[in-house]
Symmetry: C2
Subunit: 396 residues, 2 copies
DNA sequence: TTCACTTAGTTAAATCTATTAACTAAAGAA
DNA sequence: TTCTTTAGTTAATAGATTTAACTAAGTGAA
């Protein structure tokens, strides 16, 4: 299995219908305000087909009609938008330092968000806490009357590609947790699709799916927090999330960027995570796990040691960006994760290193645009919600 | 564009037909001897659909019937195989040190192969030489009466993802060459699909498509020759070849594995290619471009300098393997390229390094099987032929 | 031998999807 | 007003898979 939502390889007429419906919905998502004629041109479907599918999607509350789009000397088309009024997508992020949940519209607009800074303990206790938060949010008058399309949950570790099982979360101490099964008894009433994914994959998915401006061809999202990971999303109407045979795609924290370097908790030396990760920076600066990293570093002010550690971490991040660029060659690179709160002393060296080491392979091509998400508190949760929508769109 | 042959995102009944036909053909390719009933079970299509499509494929010379497959207490099914008798696939590999061509059956069996050790000069001269070789092979009595499905050509450098243009081949001195257009006037009579791809991508494709034994879920092929590159193939019925926005997916030669290391011709320091590549080994040992690398190294015998350089190159290769494993997480890792001719002094350290640095992320999962292709002279050309078949299968 | 049972594969009718072609609708320009 | 252009709808058509019933070909037990 390569993808979360890849179309199957063979199918019947019903499959074809789902394919086309999802494609039409994806066109409106990527090009808000598209008319039926625009959709027909982009998807290569006929006006008749598009008209019929759009009619069904309007009736089911997935699309809404907007203003007339003037055309040069012809009947104006009717703009179409994702209908933000009738459905809700739920996303939850189980982070090393707390839980975050969001409720989104089909267009990716966050209706509500909640955040608690209690580090997760056991899966059961976490599920109970998360369920309470979600039930409370679900009952909020702003969304209680919306139809819930499902819930996406992210975790800080690799998820098996075939089953929703968290394989290993070193920073939580969790191993082989089928978290959705743990959570379900606490939320029996919540219907729709239930999904589990790695935090970086979900964040990448969300940035790709709920893009602003021109739809990206592909995205690599680098999540620099307690550990460091990445997610890759490509594809046109169907976002593809390569996961690999063991769900380890993007586990760049343990790529070796400095042979013979520092020892990593994984047992190897010179892993990227020994240079650029929350735990590595804490270790280098002697900051306890119980302290808030951002506050502790701010408290030290313009300390040369701090500056050196952050610069070194930034340059390692730049190295990772270069290596990812040469290995995955994404159209867009997005930086996120809690380390971005540490600011320019980390980010600037990363961007500078990346810029300074561009090479001939890229001659004559556009530089890859880099987006820095300075506060990505809810990015993964929103990405999980995006995954719910992509899943539900096939059944719309 | 993510893939060479990905199904489009929307379509009509004819598209559905192509999808199912390709899926059925893919099932027979991956499971030779499958019966109609087996195919129906695997593809989720009905017996009626499978029966009809198989009938058409038998008539067109894509499939042939074999022996009866006994079933436990029921009518035996009829084994189906790819028909090796009626079609031919052509593949060509433009290498830094010579040209190689092959003619293959649908099953990947090489009918003929040719090799010349003239390093390519200009695109025009290379096209003329290649056309002469291909025409000569096409006229061979063994294949002259077969229907040609097309020609795949590989080049030692990144190819633009949307158009068949070689962007840059540093080792050939070629820049922005639309090689198929250069070649076409020399071979006007050759019909079928014409494809151009990077050598590592094509080799990976061939190893994935013409697999032996159990079909792999995904493959990363590392091509270690004059330079070093890699190709990735995943997917079920449709092999997917991620290329990236500029066709640079797998350009691992310029990932940085030793910050501050040796200078690379790309301008950066510590690129993988400064350690494990034909040119780096030549530079380290003072072997001229005009000499044959394998012969020169053999001539030096058990020289400690040679041993050290090869061990260092092998360990760098092992690092690359680890990093690719953590970034792309393929189900199978294949090592090929001309450096494999240098033997165990290079290969053994690579495998040992990879083995010694497995970490916790892989706990409880199967080790990645590693296949070493000791002589990959025709691997890329055969892979190009495989790509021709995949393309033609959609139109079969 | 016969019969029941199982699995493989084919056939014709039915179902469902998208397309085609003709239509209506709505705007601008002469 | 009329012509032209573009948007969107509708009814008939074409085409693909499925359904359901069939035939075919084996095993095993009475």
């Amino acid at each position: 299995m390569v993808s979360t939502f890849a179309p199957q390889a063979a199918g019947d007429l019903n499959f074809l219908k789902k394919l086309n419906r999802s494609s039409i919905l994806g066109t409106v998502r990527r090009y808000p305000g598209a008319t039926r004629a625009d959709i027909a041109a982009r998807t290569q479907l006929t006006k008749a087909t598009v008209g019929g599918v759009v009619q069904a999607l309007l009736e089911r509350g997935w699309l809404r009609e907007g203003e007339l789009q003037p055309r040069g000397g012809g009947r104006p088309g009717r703009a179409l938008y994702l209908d933000d009024a009738h459905h809700v997508l739920l996303g939850a992020d189980i982070g090393v330092r707390g839980l975050r949940i969001v409720a989104c519209t089909l267009g990716g607009e966050v209706l509500l968000q909640r955040y608690v800074t209690e580090p997760p303990t056991t899966p059961e206790a976490t599920a109970a806490r998360l369920a309470a938060m979600l039930r409370d949010m679900r009952d909020d008058p702003g969304i209680a009357d919306r139809h819930c399309l499902g819930l996406g949950v992210t975790v800080p570790g690799p998820v098996a590609p075939e089953q929703p099982i968290l394989r290993l979360a070193p920073n939580l101490g969790w191993v082989d947790v089928a978290f959705l099964e743990v959570l379900r008894p606490y939320l029996p009433e919540l219907d729709g699709a239930w999904l589990l994914d790695n935090e970086a994959n979900a964040a990448a998915f969300g940035e790709f799916y709920f893009h602003d401006g021109i739809p990206p061809e592909s995205i690599v999202y680098i999540s620099a927090g307690s550990g460091i990971g990445s997610g890759l999303v490509t594809g046109d109407n169907y976002p593809l999330v390569p996961r690999g045979v063991q769900g380890l795609v993007g586990e760049i924290g343990h790529t070796i960027v400095q042979p013979g370097g520092l020892y990593c908790h994984c047992g190897n030396r010179g892993c990227a995570e020994t240079l650029v990760s929350g735990w590595a920076i804490r270790a280098a600066l002697g900051i306890a796990d119980t302290e808030n990293l951002e506050a502790a570093i701010a408290a030290r002010g313009d300390d040369p040691d701090v500056n050196a550690v952050l610069r070194r971490a930034g340059e390692a991040l730049g190295t990772l960006m270069l290596n990812l660029h040469h290995t995955l060659n994404p159209a867009t690179l997005v930086l996120g994760g809690s380390l971005m709160h540490l600011g320019e002393r980390l980010i600037e060296p990363a961007l500078a290193y990346f810029e300074a080491h561009q090479n001939d392979l890229l001659r004559g091509t556009q530089r890859v645009p880099i987006k820095v998400i300075h506060d990505s508190t809810f990015t993964a949760a929103r990405g999980a919600a995006a995954q719910v929508m992509a899943k539900a769109a096939l059944e719309a």
